[in-house]
Amino acid sequence: SQQGEEDPQALSIQEGENATMNCSYKTSINNLQWYRQNSGRGLVHLILIRSNEREKHSGRLRVTLDTSKKSSSLLITASRAADTASYFCATGPQRYNQGGKLIFGQGTELSVKP
C-alpha cells in the first residue's frame, strides 16, 4: 500500500522557474527520500533527509521535512528541460525490524518547457 500522497500529480513550468512538490505520509519514519524516474526507467536517488533533520540542500535541490505534520517538500530551483521526469517521495521505516523497505508516494510528473 502507498504511504501517502504527493501533490501536485502533474506540474508544468518554464525553464528557469522553480518547481515545488509536496509529499505527505501516514506513519512514523526513520527517513524520507526523494527519487527521480525518467521515462519509466530505473529510479535515481536524489536526496535523503533523516527524521531529526528539518532541511537539506543538494545543488539545486532543497528538501524540507516537518514530522509534526508528516509532510515534506522538494524544491528544484532554476529548473532545466533535463529536469523533466517523475519525482517520488519514499519513506523508510522507524524500526529496523520492519525490513528496511521503502514505501513510495504516488509521484509528481514534472514537465519543464524550454
Binding site: Q2, G42, L43, V44, H45, L48, G100, K101, L102, Q106
Partner: protein, 113 residues
C-alpha cells in the same frame, strides 16, 4: 553506492508463459527488494529477498505467482509466472545503500500479449 545490473531490460511475452528477471549487485547486500510499477502508477513492493531464507511477500503477492531466488549476497531473480496482460508492468530490484539511499536496477519493462 552499489551498482545493479538488471536484465532483461524489456520483453514481450505470451500469456500463460513465465519470465525470469535477474539482478546482479556489485557488492554484497543483506536484503534485496523487488518492486512492481504498473502503467502510470507508483512503485509497489512485491517482496524482500534475504540470502539463505524464504522471501517475505507483501499483501497481495504470493510465492506461486512471483517466486524469488537469492542464492548469494550479490544476486537475485524474480519470476513472473503464468502471465496475463494484467502483469504488464515495469519490475525493479533495489538494495539499501544506507546513507546514499536505495539503488535501483534500470527496470524490466514487461508486456504480456
Amino acid at each position: 553506492s552499489a551498482v545493479i545490473s538488471q536484465k532483461p531490460s524489456r520483453d514481450i511475452c505470451q500469456r500463460g508463459t513465465s519470465l525470469t528477471i535477474q539482478c546482479q549487485v556489485d557488492s554484497q547486500v543483506t536484503m534485496m527488494f523487488w518492486y512492481r510499477q504498473q502503467p502510470g502508477q507508483s512503485l509497489t513492493l512485491i517482496a524482500t529477498a534475504n540470502q539463505g531464507s524464504e522471501a517475505t511477500y507483501e499483501s497481495g503477492f504470493v510465492i506461486d505467482k512471483f517466486p524469488i531466488s537469492r542464492p548469494n549476497l550479490t544476486f537475485s531473480t524474480l519470476t513472473v509466472s503464468n502471465m496475463s496482460p494484467e502483469d504488464s508492468s515495469i519490475y525493479l530490484c533495489s538494495v539499501d545503500t544506507g546513507s546514499y539511499g536505495y539503488t535501483f536496477g534500470s527496470g524490466t519493462r514487461l508486456t504480456v500479449v
